[in-house]
């Protein structure tokens, strides 16, 4: 469970000039067996960006097919498969592990003044769980693929002729990665804070990682057992969700959304943390309402467990339950709005620098607000009956997950790139990417709100010609969006290879990670730091 003493001694000379976590040992093997949270974080960055590219290519293929109302190059079956893989890869392999596993792993221990996470070996095991699960899930492509959509709803998922069991089992293994990461982070935050680092002095990114970790630990096991029941259903034919026998397919949805609604907060809450850091730093201003932001994260954590039924308004759920879920869903808007107001108040009269991370953070504010507000439409029982299963849902989900979580994730990658790699990124390339992403995103998804409210149903390969204009616009937008992310990834890679050397604190941040060299040494700190005040003390 814990690192052995020999490893410790080997790194006792880590404080030599020019030696850092990146170059102290070399070779692929030293990376694959590392227990250093920073190296594991970097491995997550590479793998998750790779998954993101794959999932993105699937998305581009979908949008290309939708360029014309009739079949262009995919049959309906192929379309269903591509759609399922796009959704499963983006959800289970990119956004859920995304921010906590790559940036949380790297930054959280440093931000609380710790030398590592509480269980370094478990941390490495989480990475392998993600890889193994991903390999199983993607390998299913060679065994018939899967065409159920990322939600694996029964009874279809129990009957589909494709390799559902394999993908579901892959998702189950990836669930372990998520659970173990969450468990590790909770213990780290409870037990490894440095002297003076009280809970109320933790940076807001750490608070958001903390809230996320609780969600991961509490919610993911329910997904695990649900997916196991589905596998049992497919392999043994036991009939838990089979209506022919009195089993209830809606029970599957209850269990699935008991995880998957909190899961969307697993995806978005860490993004909130990144945005808090970026906005405060690039406004050079103390964050407005530190406690409100921290506690609203915890409130969201709790409330997110009470609203899962708003995904099931038209699934045959009872009207009583529907009404209860509508009311509870409206409540989640409160802590979320508190955060948004606090960020805007932080910007007010700040010394704002429009660097790349800040542009991403401001994009986040716009896109997430649209995504959040349209979520309230969908959370209202009566309105949802009209909008359910249309492109309105697709647009809402992408505004929150892509415009919210992924955009903030890229903002975070640019923000911490100098610390992680020790190199500066190209500011011009970064800004171009941020602007392209913002324009491309809106061109892609704004039309989808319109056509959704007009009645264009989701998950179809062909459509009525009256929606052509919106679809063409959306597809053109997807190309701009892809170009934007392409430039962003190119800028990050270019920085890692031949960026200028980064100083300790290029953005004048005030949290602990900016007090140590870039890149950090193996033990993060020469001597354990002491904290004597709140973060974000600018003036």
């Amino acid at each position: 469970m814990a690192e052995t003493k020999t490893v410790d001694n080997a790194h006792a000379h880590g404080s030599q000039e020019g030696v850092n976590y990146l170059n102290e040992t070399s070779g692929l093997w030293s990376w694959l067996t590392t227990v250093d949270h920073k190296r594991i974080g970097v491995m997550y960055i590479y793998t998750i960006i790779a998954f993101f590219v794959v999932g993105g290519l699937f998305a581009l293929a979908l949008r290309l097919e939708l360029l014309t109302a009739e079949k262009l190059f995919m049959t309906a079956d192929v379309y269903n498969q591509v759609m399922t893989f796009h959704g499963s890869i983006m959800v289970f392999m990119v956004i859920v592990p995304g921010v906590p596993a790559m940036l949380g792993n790297f930054m959280m221990p440093i931000m609380i003044g710790a030398k590592d996470v509480a269980f370094p070996k478990l941390n490495l095991a989480s990475w392998y769980c993600l890889i193994i699960g991903a390999v199983i899930a993607v390998a299913s492509l060679f065994f018939g693929g899967v065409d159920t959509g990322w939600t694996f709803y029964t009874p279809y998922s129990a009957q589909s002729a494709t390799a559902v069991a394999m993908v579901v089992f892959g998702a189950f293994v990836m669930g372990f990665s998520s659970i173990l990461t969450g468990l590790n982070f909770i213990v780290t935050i409870h037990k490894l804070r440095c002297k003076g680092m009280t809970m109320m002095r933790m940076p807001l990114f750490v608070w958001s990682i903390y809230a996320t970790a609780i969600l991961q630990v509490i919610a993911t096991p329910v997904l695990g057992i649900t997916l196991l029941l589905l596998v049992a259903e497919r392999i043994f034919g036991v009939g838990v969700f089979d209506p022919a026998l009195g089993g209830d397919p809606v029970l599957f949805q209850h269990f699935f959304w008991f995880y998957s609604h909190p899961a969307v907060y697993i995806m978005i809450v860490p993004a909130f943390g990144i945005v808090s850091e970026i906005i405060s730093t690039f406004s050079q201003k103390t964050i407005f309402g530190y406690k409100a932001i921290a506690f609203s994260s915890m409130a969201i954590t709790f409330l997110s467990f009470l609203v899962w039924g708003h995904h099931m308004f038209v699934s045959g759920q009872s009207p009583v339950a529907g009404t209860i879920f509508t009311v509870l869903t409206m409540l989640v808007g409160v802590p979320t709005a508190i955060k948004l107001f606090n960020w805007v108040a932080t910007l007010y009269k700040g010394q704002i620098t429009l660097s790349t991370p800040m542009l991403y953070a401001l994009s986040f504010l716009c896109l997430f607000t649209i995504g959040g507000l349209t979520g309230l439409f969908l959370g209202a029982f009566a309105v949802d009956v009209h909008l359910h299963d249309t492109y309105f849902v697709v647009a809402h989900f992408h505004y929150v997950m892509l415009g919210g979580a992924i955009v903030a994730m890229f903002g975070g990658l640019f923000y911490w790139m100098p610390k992680i790699s020790g190199k500066m990124y190209d500011e011009l390339l970064g800004k171009v990417s941020a602007v392209l992403v913002f324009i491309g995103f809106n061109v892609t998804f704004l039309p989808q709100f319109v056509m959704g409210s007009l009645g264009m149903p989701r998950r179809y390969a062909t459509y009525d010609g009256i929606y052509s204009g919106y679809h063409v616009l959306s597809t053109i937008g997807s190309w701009v969006l892809a170009l934007g992310f392409g430039v962003a990834i190119y800028a990050l890679i270019k920085a890692a290879i031949k960026g200028e050397k980064a100083p300790e604190d290029p953005f004048k941040g005030t949290t602990l990670e900016w007090t140590i060299p870039s890149p950090p040494i193996h033990t993060n700190f020469e001597t354990s730091p002491k904290v004597s005040g709140r973060p974000y003390e600018y003036r």
Binding site: H190, I218, V222, D248, V250, L251, H254, F255, F258, F305, L306, W308, G309, M312, G316, Q317, S318, P319, V320, A321, I324
Partner: protein, 94 residues
Amino acid sequence: MSGHHVVPFKTNLITFLTLVVLTVVTVYTAKYVDLGEFNLALAMAIAGVKATVVGLWFMHLKYDTWMNRAIMLSAIVFVALLFVISAVDMFTRA
């Protein structure tokens, strides 16, 4: 290590015997006392007591920190939420 409570053999033994007695009570009430629907409630209540006994003495929650107790309690609370809310749906369908 100082600060960690060592539970003596005698306490462990008493805990074990209590659990055995409660098991006998469970079987007896379920098999030979007919309370109708309340048999389930009674059996669950006894099981709850048994689980609490295991938690407090065998798992040392009686001597543990509030944080570890809170972790256990929160799991129970969220399971209850899952159960209650899905039951509300299942039993109010037209």
